[in-house]
Amino acid sequence: MRRIATDSDFRAGFVDMLPAALALAPFGLVCGVGAEAAGASLAGAIGLSAIVFSGAAQILAVQLLAAGAPLAVIVLTCFVAGLRFVIYSAAMAPYLRPLPARWQKSLAFLLTDQAFAAAVRRFDTGGDSHAAGRHFLGSGFALWAFWQVMNVLGYFAGNLIPAGWSLDFAVPLCFIALVAPHLRTSPTIVAALVAGSGVLALAALPMKLSLIVAGIAGIVAGTIADFAQERWTSR
């Protein structure tokens, strides 16, 4: 452990993640506030942030818990919201193939939106994939550690933050930072439009079921648009 903590690639990864970790600080606070408001114990709140380690799933889980949703609905919603990790996993797989299985399993645990973006940038610069793996471990660990601190701070001190600051707005902003750069091709824009209009049209559905239905509709629409575009351009 000491050997890895003094490794220059690990440290570079840790430092590279600090701006993104800072940007996620309000999101982490909001997750902690939400856990406390849902009646979670401190251990339960830490369990959620340390093990599930996904802001989207955490926010959805505590909101649905507070609303008294059944366990199956909470689990299904969090799972569907976390489906994007499968995509990240598929994209990371070729980069991680040269690494030992133990490294693959550890790095998979640290695979988040932000760590994924940072890791792709680092692996694409080329060079030794083991060094890039240590960089990934550093950036993933930085985010994980910082996330736990912000969640616990939010749990205890969240109520001290004035409501006028609209800190909760940091949560959609973090997702906008992720989704906006995607919107460069027509099928992706179709997917976003269908999912977005769907989720608003179905807002009346109970227990955020609109998220699952609209999300899947968006994926299907994007895929159909992709096929249509292919047929159009190949003619």
Binding site: G39, F85, A93, L111, V179, I189, A195
Partner: protein, 111 residues
């Protein structure tokens, strides 16, 4: 079911499911070819899921009685433009919050 038990079940089940999602192609299906249709559908998961996640938070101010919040919509559009061109999380966050605070301040003084 008591809230504490339900929370721990969520931690355990979602924890395992999320980890399996993250591990899926890195380890579990590492040697398997992704079916073409699935690979194509995969490309649209982030755009669709993240948009479905984010829009309700933007269009309606949080609270029990949802209402359309114009400052939030304007701030999100500004943040989206910054994100599209810079891909910077910190820049997106700073822009969005600055626009929201400015509009909230301006509106509170107009009335």
């Amino acid at each position: 079911m008591d809230v504490a038990l339900k929370l721990w079940l969520v931690v355990a089940i979602v924890g395992v499911l999320n980890y399996l999602s993250r591990l899926s192609f890195i380890a579990i299906f590492a040697r398997r070819q992704v079916p073409a249709l699935l690979a194509r559908a995969f490309r649209y998961v982030p755009a669709a899921m993240l948009t479905a996640l984010v829009l309700p938070m933007v269009v309606t101010a949080s609270g029990e009685t949802p209402h359309v919040s114009l400052p939030r919509i304007a701030a999100s559009l500004a943040a989206g433009v910054v994100a599209f061109f810079t891909r910077s999380t910190l820049g997106t966050l700073a822009t969005g919050m600055a626009v929201l605070w400015t509009l909230q301040f301006a509106l509170s003084h107009v009335r």
